[in-house]
């Protein structure tokens, strides 16, 4: 132990990172663009705190997050607090408490940072940005459709025009298991097998449902094909109703956004333990990770709600960086009014703080793209090799 070299001052805990110039600005701009689309559709922004009592974070839809939440004791109240791992439960809390009297449907938006105890090998980050919306107090096809369309519009606003959305019915499999009267002990291994789409294990644990589940497992894919498979399957009434609503939602979304690639995975319910209706995941083709997800759930007071969360970090990785803002060097002693005029045109001005040598060389040293000369912005000549 005594031989350990001192930790390098730049080393961060695993899963955390600094955003440096340009990247931090790009992130802020992307979040602003997403939030502008949400605001344009009437979603009003709220800002819950980073820490709150754990009961609030883990109520209702938050129950699945307990194991992912950093917890600490509040020295003032002696109660346990959690550092939020997801903002959705906080919005649900606000909707059913402070905003309980506001007329429904209630449209709220948020953007902020979350922290989780551990990352995964595939997604090792432990601090995760979220930007999202919640539509509270309405259980309808129109509400589900609105969320999907607003999500696609927000992604288009940051430059991701080719989006695919995977639609799932997290309650379909439980409805099938219920209708088939499968014993509780048999459900856990079957649910796990379905989660991994492990056909061999589904056949082994599926009992009377093995044939149906195997068909639905392989039906995952383009919406038309999957819906046809659902329509052809012998479903009990509860499951039939879910499938019909899904088909109607697909038709409504396809009519409004024909370019959106829709896929359906009837037996998927991954990570969506709290969802009570249609759930969805946004992908960009060719990207290996989801850009956002959401779905229908029951709020704290049993109020129907549906939400969408986009992940700005992942979105930024999927879009080319926007053109950087031009940087204008303002030499020592130049007229501040001229610099102000250039700022109004969109330049970032970089003022000399002391006398310097040749202006062009000093501008280049400070990583500027232009220099101020005679009131005009003169582009710097490319550096000689």
């Amino acid at each position: 132990m005594t031989d350990d070299p001192p930790a390098h001052p730049a080393l961060l805990p695993s899963g955390f990172r600094d955003l440096l110039p340009e990247a931090a600005e790009e992130e802020a701009q992307a979040i602003a663009a997403l939030m502008a689309v949400f605001a344009g559709h009437g979603y009003q922004r709220v800002k819950p705190p980073l820490l709150e009592f754990q009961e609030g974070l883990f109520a209702g839809s938050g129950a699945a997050l307990a194991e992912q939440t950093f917890r600490l004791m509040d020295p003032l109240s002696q109660r346990m607090m959690g550092l939020r791992a997801d903002i959705t439960p906080q919005i649900a809390r606000i909707a059913t408490t402070r905003l309980a009297a506001v007329p429904r449907p209630l449209r709220l938006s948020y953007a902020g940072q979350c922290v989780r105890v551990a990352g995964s090998e595939l997604a090792p980050e432990r601090q995760i940005g979220q930007a999202g919306i919640e539509l509270v107090g309405e259980d309808s096809l129109a509400a589900d459709t609105e969320l999907l369309l607003v999500g696609a519009e927000a992604l288009a606003a940051v430059g991701i025009a080719r989006v695919s959305v995977d639609l799932t019915l997290p309650t379909l499999v439980p409805a099938l298991l219920e209708a088939a009267g499968l014993e509780a002990a048999a459900r856990a291994p079957l649910a796990r097998a379905l989660d991994r789409k492990d056909a061999a294990a589904v056949a082994h644990h599926g009992g009377p449902l093995a044939g149906l589940l195997a068909d639905l497992l392989l039906a995952a894919g383009p919406a038309a094909r999957a819906l046809a498979a659902l329509a052809a399957a012998a479903l009990p009434d509860t499951a039939r109703a879910l499938a019909e609503r899904l088909a109607a939602t697909v038709a409504a979304v396809a009519a409004r956004a024909p370019a959106l690639l829709l896929t359906v995975d009837p037996v998927e319910f991954r990570g969506l333990r709290y969802h009570t209706g249609l759930a969805f995941t946004f992908y960009a083709p060719g990207r290996r990770i989801e850009l956002g997800r959401g779905g229908r759930y029951l709020g704290n007071a049993g109020e129907p709600a549906t939400g969408l969360t986009l992940y700005p970090d992942r979105i930024l990785a999927a879009i080319p960086p926007p053109p950087a803002r031009p940087r204008l060097f303002v030499p020592w002693g130049a007229d501040p009014a001229q610099a102000a005029a250039r700022r109004a045109e969109g330049f970032a001005t970089v003022a000399a703080l002391s006398p310097h040598g040749p202006a062009a060389a000093e501008a280049r040293r400070l990583l500027c793209t232009h220099r101020l000369e005679g009131g005009a912005a003169v582009p710097l000549a490319p550096e000689h090799a």
Partner: protein, 231 residues
Amino acid sequence: MTAPFALPCPAAAADRPLILALPKGRILGECGALLARAGLHPAPDYADEASRRLRFPTDDPALEVVRVRSFDVATFVAFGAAELGICGADVLMEFDYPEIYAPLDLGIGRCRISVAEPAETAGTDDPARWSSVRVASKYPSLSRRHFAARGVQAEVVALSGAMELAPTLGLARLIVDLVQTGSTLKANGLVETEVIAPVSARLIVNRTALKTRPEAVGGWIARFRAALEPG
């Protein structure tokens, strides 16, 4: 920020050939007939482990084959570096990547993953009384899960081969390993005391690839499924 690494640009990634990862060793030899029935013919040296090539074209320009270690097939597919792969169920049980779907049991590479111990200690005491047990295995996480489910803490010595030596040389009380015929165990004075699970090769696919390239990836699942139909 995270060091950027040269990902193909999104458009290119969406249209690049699919990659099928095949495992070196035991299963590879049995793959040939199945691939042919699925209408897939990689460059012939793909099955030649002496070949230094790792990436092989096939007769379908939209699909390439890579040959990696069996455990790495799961990693390549989980991270989306390969959209499809073939590997033993043992590898999936060990890694348990949520990003991997295993839509088909290919029925080849059959064996089992088992607990074994020296013939002289087998049956001499009651495992229910153990608090912990030292196990040698190349399946540390699977071994821990297996014993934890029985209330026993497994202290795993991770080895990558020659597991059978561990009990006799005092490295571990038990081993957890693949057993095909049992002859290696027998030759080293070990007996199989418990079968953890039967193992066969699975077709695996990356979850995101199935969602974002459903036609292409789904098409290959269908072709492999058809290749498994009798007759």
